[in-house]
């Protein structure tokens, strides 16, 4: 047994090759998407959407069996209905959107659990809830591949209007961007990302693939492009890495992937050079000295266009 055996051995199995490829694709695309979800502060809405997939999946399983395309369509429809229904409820009553969406998704989740009992084929509820990455078929791979391509193409092409909308929707609207369309597209891509990650981690953990890598990248960088691509790479690394660990340790893959992501997030929280807990401790002292020397250097100078913000910043 050589050093690389633990890394190479899983590639000997066809089911593992498929699972790894699927995890790499979905991890990358969802990690990329996560930046948009986080900066729009829609992590909790996304969680609601992931739960609301269930009745759609169950209905599709009842009507067309377990075909990947049918499941995709069913989940997409159910989640969009909950998202749009939430907006409708919020506009026409005093309920705020988060309350409306929360009520709708939990109702949809309940309906889904009941519907699954009536599916034509026998379905294991746990597969929907927790995923079954080792059962990835060719159809699932194609869906992962297509959704990754579609998500990345749209997000990269529309990066400028997306950035303006995320940063300040009011100003974006004033400069002629169709903010409503941008938001709707983001919502649709989020649901697509959730459905694509079902096989890997299931309904309950699919949120993690979208939120956690981007949250980790957010703690590490102040640059929008770096957060995008960093989130994508972290997503890919933790999805495939988590799968490898689960293979060797013989534990379920979904929780393993999410736990690895949580580990990365914790490390970033502690050790990020600029925003980390420990980083800040070291930074404080340095900043203070810098500020003191600048303050001494600037005394008596003309203050035209120089800053007098009281902190000694240049």
């Amino acid at each position: 047994m050589t050093l690389f055996d633990p890394i190479l051995s899983p590639f000997g199995y066809a089911f593992m090759q498929r699972a790894l490829l699927s995890c790499a694709l979905i991890g990358f695309a969802n990690g990329f998407l996560g930046t948009f979800v986080i900066l729009r502060r829609q992590a909790l809405l996304t969680d609601a959407l992931s739960h609301s997939l269930l009745p759609g999946l169950a209905l599709a399983a009842m009507l067309v069996g377990l075909s990947p395309a049918g499941l995709l369509l069913g989940g997409l429809l159910a989640a969009l209905l909950v998202a749009l229904g939430g907006q409708l409820l919020a506009r026409n009553s005093r309920l705020k959107e988060e309350t409306a969406v929360a009520c709708l998704y939990i109702a949809a989740f309940a309906v889904g659990i009941v519907l699954i009992r009536f599916a034509r084929v026998r379905i294991d509820l746990t597969h929907f809830l927790f995923g079954n990455i080792l059962g990835v078929g060719d159809g699932d791979l194609w869906i992962a591949y297509a959704s990754t391509c579609l998500t990345l193409t749209i997000l990269v092409l529309c990066q400028r209007p997306l950035l303006l909308t995320l940063f300040d929707a009011t100003v974006a609207r004033a400069s002629g961007i169709r903010v409503g369309w941008i938001e709707a597209a983001l919502l649709a891509l989020t649901v697509l990302g959730l459905v694509a990650s079902l096989q890997a981690v299931g309904v309950l953990l699919s949120l993690g693939l979208i939120i956690m890598p981007a949250a980790t990248a957010y703690l590490l960088t102040d640059s929008f492009p770096r957060m995008l691509w960093g989130g994508a790479i972290l997503g890919m690394v933790s999805a495939t890495g988590g799968l490898m660990i689960s293979f060797h340790a013989d534990i379920p893959s979904g929780p393993c992937i999410v736990m690895l992501m949580a580990l990365f997030l914790t490390l970033a929280y502690l050790f990020s050079p600029r925003h980390g807990l420990l980083g800040k401790l070291f930074m404080g002292r340095h900043r203070h000295e810098e500020s003191l020397s600048r303050w001494e250097g600037h005394q008596g100078h003309e203050h035209r266009f120089q800053d007098t913000d009281g902190h000694g910043n240049p």
């Binding site: 300040d168 009011t170 102040d222 913000d309």
Partner: protein
């Protein structure tokens, strides 16, 4: 002044507001306001709370649709002159933790010219550099926007508008929360902009420093009370008229 000065002809009317009424849910916030403002001015908008200062700015920026009348900027409605208008939002509406540096923020201003898909060329980069330089932000270009002081943040947004080559700057309470030193620096930046042929419309709630900050003033109270040089527009009788009467906001049906 390397870029963005357009064709400054001080005095020629840049902004024409005629018979403008804007309503929220059929309750008018400003009624039948008519104004003409030329290039090269720094104009303060004054009035009591709820007088419609923000509403007027939002309508001019094209965010709110007029119920009566219209707005023309160089003869074009706001929807067709988005690149010429820069609306600077109130501080509270910005997410200061957003992962963007000062340079990145100023680059956003160029999107009005590159379009949403065009390449970001050498001309765009030099416009960004010029804007950073003009507002003395070059040493801070790589800072995240939260790491600036309040005055520097305002200047970063002005630099974005400059890079956009906007002719009309709409600023909603930019002096709110600034200390005296930062206010003075911001006021000087605004004067520099007016001097290069821009029109600045600035909502402001303190009357005490009006004459120091602005060369002209618009006084509103739901409707237009006065418009002109600061001393005339904010004369005691006009102020009594604007602040002494209550604004009609419709009746609340219960």
């Amino acid at each position: 002044m390397t870029t963005g000065s357009g064709n400054p002809e001080p005095g020629s009317p840049l902004l024409q507001v005629s018979d403008l009424t804007v309503s929220y849910r059929r309750v008018p916030a400003i009624h039948h306001v008519s104004l003409e403002l030329g290039r090269g001015h720094c104009t303060g908008i004054f009035g009591p709370n709820g007088a419609g200062k923000s509403t007027l700015l939002k309508a001019i920026s094209g965010l709110l649709a007029p119920e009566t009348g219209g707005i023309l900027i160089d003869g074009l409605p706001p929807s067709r002159s988005a690149a010429r208008i820069s609306y600077l939002p109130q501080r509270e509406s910005i997410d200061w933790d957003f992962p963007v540096t000062v340079r990145g923020l100023v680059e956003m201003g160029r999107y009005a010219h590159t379009g949403m898909f065009g390449t970001f060329g050498a001309a765009d980069r030099s416009a960004v550099d010029g804007a950073l330089d003009l507002f003395r932000l070059t040493p801070l270009a790589d800072r995240q926007i939260k790491e600036l002081s309040g005055g520097q943040q305002q200047r970063a947004f002005l630099a974005r508008a400059w890079a956009q080559e906007a002719a009309l700057y709409l600023l909603d309470e930019p002096f709110g929360g600034l200390d005296r030193g930062s206010s003075a620096i911001l006021a000087e930046a605004l004067r520099t902009l007016a001097g290069s042929g821009k029109l600045l419309l600035v909502s402001h709630h303190s009357l005490a420093d009006a004459a120091d900050l602005f060369d002209s003033a618009v006084l509103i109270n739901g409707e237009l009370v006065a418009s002109g040089p600061v001393a005339e527009a904010l004369s005691p009788s006009n102020l009594a008229c604007a602040y002494g009467t209550s604004v009609y906001h419709g009746t609340i049906r219960t």
